[in-house]
Amino acid sequence: MSEMDWIAIGTIADIPLRGARCVNTPEGKIGVFRTAEDQIFAIEDHCPHKGGPLSQGIVHGASVTCPLHNWVFSLETGKAQGADEGSVRTIPLKVEDGRLFIALELRASKAA
């Protein structure tokens, strides 16, 4: 795999605890989540059910509940939990000294 092209998006402190922010990218909106235990995850901000903005949902454990019809997604794998089926893309993210970086596909493929 080619080396990832990391893009800075801000710091942990920008995201409320048990909350999320979104990042606009050419690939669409990305939701960046912070759990009660300060884990950070990035997933596509688009619910596979009817497109709800997941970044606006309630964050509990390492999951988020979609604000439109309450599907629950794992932030780690992007998979819908329970009886619902579907998944969202997870976006590579790294944390360095409290700063957050994501890697985008377009950039990665352009660089390759």
Binding site: D14, T25, T65
Partner: protein, 816 residues
Amino acid sequence: MTERLVIIGNGMAPGRMLEHLLEAAPSRYQVTIFNAEPRVNYDRIMLSPVLSGEKGYEEIIIHGDGWYIKHGITLYKGHTIVAIDRAAKTVTSDHGVTETYDKLVIATGSVPFIIPVPGNDMAGVLSYRDLDDVNAMLLAAQSRAKAVVIGGGLLGLEAAAGLQARGMDVTVLHVMPTLMERQLDPAAGYLLQRAVEARGIKVMTKANTKAIVGNGKVEGVELADGSVVPATLVVMAVGIRPNASIARDAGIETNRGIVVDNGMRTSDPDILALGECAEVGGQVYGLVAPLYEMARVAAAHLAGDQTAGFVHSDTPTKLKVTGIDLYSLGDFADGDDREEIVLRDAAAGIYKRLVLKDNRVIGTVLYGETGDGAWFNDLKKKQTDISEMRDTLIFGQAYQGGSPLDPMAAVAALADDAEICGCNGVCKGKITGTITEKGLTSLDDVRAHTKASASCGSCTGLVEQLMSLTLGDSYNPAAVQPMCKCTDLGHDDVRRLIKAKGLKTIPEVMQELQWKSSCGCAKCRPALNYYLVCDWPDEYADDYQSRFINERVHANIQKDGTYSVVPRMWGGVTNSSELRAIADVVDKFEIPMVKVTGGQRIDMLGIRKEDLPAVWSDLGKAGFVSGHAYAKGLRTVKTCVGSDWCRFGTQDSTGLGIRIEKFMWGSWTPAKVKMAVSGCPRNCAEATCKDIGVICVDSGFEIHFAGAAGLDIKGTEVLGLVKTEDEALEVIVALTQMYREQGRYLERIYKWAKRVGIAEIKRQILDDADMRTAYYERFVFSQKFAQVDPWSERVSGMDKHEFHPMASVGFAEAAE
């Protein structure tokens, strides 16, 4: 030939390294140490007991002067190395001593991080790192005045406990919502805060330091909200930075710390680094266990064994404050591929959590009882498969067999004078006493004899639990529907226990009521948040992260992710300037859809989230406030034109509607509340299908409630007739408050009324004047905190993060 070994820094890491080296190769090196601190090697970890007075400095010395003499080691105390000359292989101290080395070891430890705020260099501002800091604190403590410790981590809390033991009045300021958030999950953080506060130390979380204020000498700490916490001593304990500067200046590779390979070798083959200043495998360390591992490896290499390599292992964290037991180890974050086992014993203040992955322990947080920490650590290290003992694992090593968790523990732990039935003021002791005394066996008997749960019935679950407790297995309570999968308790039990036990935060509820998850779920968190807002209006800080998006951003999310905005139009009445302002906003923000709602007001749809504050700002200037069209709270009060205009009108229905809406707006309720006032029984405002409605008649006001016109259709019930507008308002307010206090989250009034019974509601609201007044007054009190326009708050900058993307990245970067 002896080689010359020079060591910079004389802390715990090189001290341990020398012990290993003297054993493995006793006469290989001529050793010289430079130490900026003017003293021998002592146990830095034990500074806290020295501060609190439990130990003296002499007791924590590791190597006394005699040790250095015995091993022929030269120790330059109070000498700071200022330069390394790698070509000449020398180091030079600030006192001008130059020493030549064959091998050099850098062990300069860390420097405390000082937050960059004005006044941080004032007299009276200290850090917590060495004996000099402790001595300075002890001197300041003689005043027995006020101290502030900035930082609620391990170091900060130990400093606070020490200063408090020395008689100071201590406040801890912590920027995060819970203490020691790196080592503890929020549940354990809550217990820790309670224990710290119980010893008289004040704790302020989410406290952001803006400046240290004073006149040459510290007088206080100013927070971001402008308030000042007075103090004559400020201790900063907010973190440490590896002390890598002399290595960096000498051109040795550094990153966060001095970069070493797993043999502790820096980029210069003759120079080693270890301790907190060293970075190995991309990690720096701040606890001694891994530093001792580095010491072992460095000594082996110096003794000629090139095979030794550093192995990472997680180190448990413990807090050295007498009387507080906590233990945290490894990775305890939630995850999809992980399972957790939680044990809470509210009465004993115990919280234990194990995080498992593939049937192996990967992390644990223990509070209150940490005896099994070592065992869990062992299971983790050995990666033991625990599937065989999964059911009893959390009870610890000594536990054999065992019963499941007791769902009645919370009720069993209640004091005898804890109130169980709010309506009739019956406490626990009365109920259990009467059961035994009179030999009662059925719920109806208990109701008849004690009146407990005989009124609104919301405490039935608790009364039944008390019967089970008192009567044992012979009593079989009806099953209660649990609130969600995080608890066995139903909504009513949770509500009663919040009151009875005085629970005032979400973590507190979860701990005391023995929640089975660490952080709740999207079902229980919003419910708990509402219950706490309702029960403790003046004390509870609303947790917005536990609210659904609409209430969090005070607008309604639409299917495409845009929002709709509905300003209040009191009683459905408007005028030309309001309409003009709305028209201007619609033009300015190119709002695609404007719609008249069923609740007699105007809805603007399709607004981008980023535009919301600007839209509100313009609406606010025209005098509009939020219509709470998104809220589980008071929505609209529809009116007809009534006696002012209509030829059939009997009363001023418009005026009454506006009065009700102005009195009650902003209040949160279990589910939405829609009202209407019609000026005569022709009922043009459709008051008879509302949550609460008024039909005006010649003789006064007929109060209706419990209607529905949504998924269910249901005509209202008549509560009763009152003569004056004042009475009508009082009755409506009292009724709403009763519903606020008893309704289950998301339960509309008509469902609540069906559960409680129309007759009981009539009795409490119409017949019992005292109860009515009490409900009314509690509502009025709560409105003091609720009637704040959320829009104008957000126009002034509150929750800014909600309305803007964190970043926009990856778009046409042509310059690249």
